[in-house]
Symmetry: C4
Subunit: 263 residues, 4 copies
């Protein structure tokens, strides 16, 4: 096996495809968002990316092992105002990048992101959106969506869709594959945007994922139902309510350790 190996599972004709990345991260916002797209729309896995930088690990489903990989799905999105869908009607298709793993080294992150961009190039992708969360340290009732882009001219259309650009935010920059899609994708001349939903950083956050998807709907031009995400958000609010009750009885604020990774 080479350091990185790209397996082709399907090669559909795509219409002006946009790459959407949603790997695990703060509040699992990006991953929840892309998983919601894969649940709501028809899709097929078109590429699987294996890497020796991934953990030496298989997942087991129904007794059968699957080697650690990232997957790129082609998603067939009906246009928001036009339920017909064929490759020539100006509709937009999505390439959705998901997975559970990270590279082990700095260099591995770079090589892996280059591989993802190579796959995108094979589908003539010109636009990329990296979805994720930005931690606020406190519970957020109405999460805003912060933006970062590869080229300044991409700011205005995102602002028109309600994405906020704040001076010096996010303070620590953007890290991991999302950051490198901006950095390396931008250097390749791609139009890359990063949409980051505000989230406490303590909980899996379906509400923040929904806010990110609402912005994405507006930017790309599609419509998706949110019932299942809203249900999950309500479940989370119940959990949060119970935790706050317990904390109030103890007379202290919830700590990071109390809340982290609940969900």
């Amino acid at each position: 096996m080479d350091d990185i190996e790209i397996e082709t599972l399907a090669d559909p004709e795509l219409s002006d495809p946009v790459l959407i990345e949603g790997l695990p991260g703060v509040g699992h916002v990006g991953k929840l968002a892309v998983e919601h797209l894969l649940e709501e729309f028809d899709s097929e896995v078109v590429r699987r990316v294996f890497a020796t930088e991934f953990p030496p690990q298989v997942t087991i489903e129904d007794g059968v092992a699957e080697l650690a990989s990232a997957e790129i799905h082609a998603v067939d999105i009906p246009a928001a105002d036009d339920e017909t869908d064929d490759a020539d009607d100006g509709d937009v298709d999505l390439l959705v990048l998901t997975g559970d793993h990270q590279a082990q080294t700095n260099a591995g992150h770079y090589r892996l992101t280059e591989a993802f961009l190579d796959v995108a190039a094979g589908f003539d992708v010109e636009r990329v959106f990296a979805l994720g969360g930005v931690p606020t340290g406190e519970l957020v009732e109405e999460p805003s969506v912060l933006g970062a882009v590869s080229h300044a001219e991409a700011i205005e259309p995102l602002e028109a869709a309600g994405v906020e650009f704040r001076e010096d935010e996010p303070a620590g920059g953007v890290v991991g594959v999302s950051g490198l899609l901006l950095g390396l994708g931008g250097r390749r001349g791609l139009d890359v945007g990063c949409l980051m939903g505000e989230t406490s950083g303590y909980l899996v956050d379906p509400k923040s994922a929904q806010a990110v998807l609402v912005a994405l709907e507006e930017i790309i031009g599609f419509e998706v139902g949110f019932e299942s995400l809203e249900e999950r958000a309500e479940e989370m609010e119940e959990v949060v309510g119970k935790i706050q009750e317990m904390q109030n009885q103890q007379g202290s604020m919830p700590t990071d350790d109390d809340l982290r990774y609940i969900g």
Copy 2:
């Protein structure tokens, strides 16, 4: 020295050889199992695999140093119902992979497993079994053997030999060389099974190793005596009895630290 170097010590003609991996892991189940095979049957070392990813270390036996390596033994197994043994009678031979070391990096694990599979390919191996333990967190009286396979059609014959396939188990997947034999071996088209004996995770567990070997006997078709493993299991039970006594006097359950690596 290259990053990985494979030394040839012997090149016997083998009959339909099956690769059996038993490197150190949870409860030392896999290692105990293959060591038992090497004790009970005639064998010879056929390959030694050196790797710059192994620790910079020699072991000393009788004053003489041996460089860190993994070893592949050819094991001559008399057929269960046919004590004659020549290469043409349909008997099965084993290639047993043992060792004490792990690679340092993710990429090292991948490269090393590829080297093991290359050795297996040189002997025309088509079937691989990775032996190991699956931690239950508590002492197990009658350990079951859990299975995972590279291809769904391999489940039925293993179930027929008493191996259990449970939904979503093991939850964390399979890691290390065992996991990659499933993942990388499966991608090469090999028929790979992983047999995992239930074990507390706190103790070296000969009883779990025996359960794994009983399943392997049935699957491959051979017979091995278990006296020495049973003796070791009895010794371990005495040790466990004493620890439980001590703990009871202190009025607390044994902790991980009390029990881990006892044996």
Copy 3:
């Protein structure tokens, strides 16, 4: 992207350029010093060095992402006693190396420093100064500047500019890019000096940066104003005063944790 990529942004004709390195380090002395030069003089970025050994990260400025890199600026310094400035008049130009990132591995540090020296070679650089701080563990009223050089004959001219050479100091040698500029630059035959301002090690230290620049002015022959650095130094002294007051009330000396990274 290659492991290291050097992007050319401009290729000005430079007059006898001297490479000045000021990456982050003890007391941020080196970084403060070169940032002051970039504020006070006209400059342009001539090279950007990207490396897969840098963190997988972009910084965001005004919403636009910039991939982790080190930058080399050409700085146009008017001669101290001659306000005219053209490439033939014997003036000295500076190449100033700045950045926020370090390599992840030992080998990465070596490769990155070689890349910086390659850039310098492209501009026919023969002299290099690495600027930094040397920790004293206590607040220093009048910081001395310690020196280290690649070749013994370079000691005398530095001593003439007030740089001190003390036996067995700095005790731990010089580490990171500064150390390797001395070691690898020296092996290339370059005349490399390291100027280290004494600093507590607990605070960002503009006064130490000024001491280093005063020595550099004398050595290279230029003049720079210090108002802004002096203002920052006064601010820091107020901060230190307040901390000492607080500590006195608590009857204890400030600890590392109290002071580290204040500024």
Copy 4:
């Protein structure tokens, strides 16, 4: 700079040279031993080995930087019973390997040891001795010297010189460059011995270094004075005496932290 670079400083004709390795390790026994040889006999540095796996660091001596390296010295040893010394009289010369640094990764240790063996091969070295300490956990009055060898036939001559071979010792094998000289040197067909002086593991131990050198004198056939080592050993005994006094007053045994790295 390549990953490893070997600089040639001199190329003397050597008579049947033996490589002696004494890098830092337990009780600094090996390093003390080879430093004593370099103090007592005439020597010159013949090779300097640089490696990107070494720390990015220079040491500063008299203001001048020297890049992290390992050094190989040719040592001119007068024969024990024959004070004349020319290359044809059957005398033995030494190649002494010293340094302060270790590789960062497993693979780095292997590559570096191979480089040392390449240097030795250039001088037609056939015998190698790795000097070091073996920790006993308690203060040793009369340190024995334990041995390990690359080939069984080398045991008898070492035993004749008082070196002890004990079953299953050292239990953890031999690690680092010493271990790999045994492992990789042995695979090259060299006659490699490791001489390990017993030492507490808590202190720099000149007495243990002397015991190792006494064995080496006998094995190779040379004579060296021990006054300076004996003086250092007496100083260490005073230090130990004081520590024991202090500990006795506190009614407790010295701990690892009390004693480690004293010297």
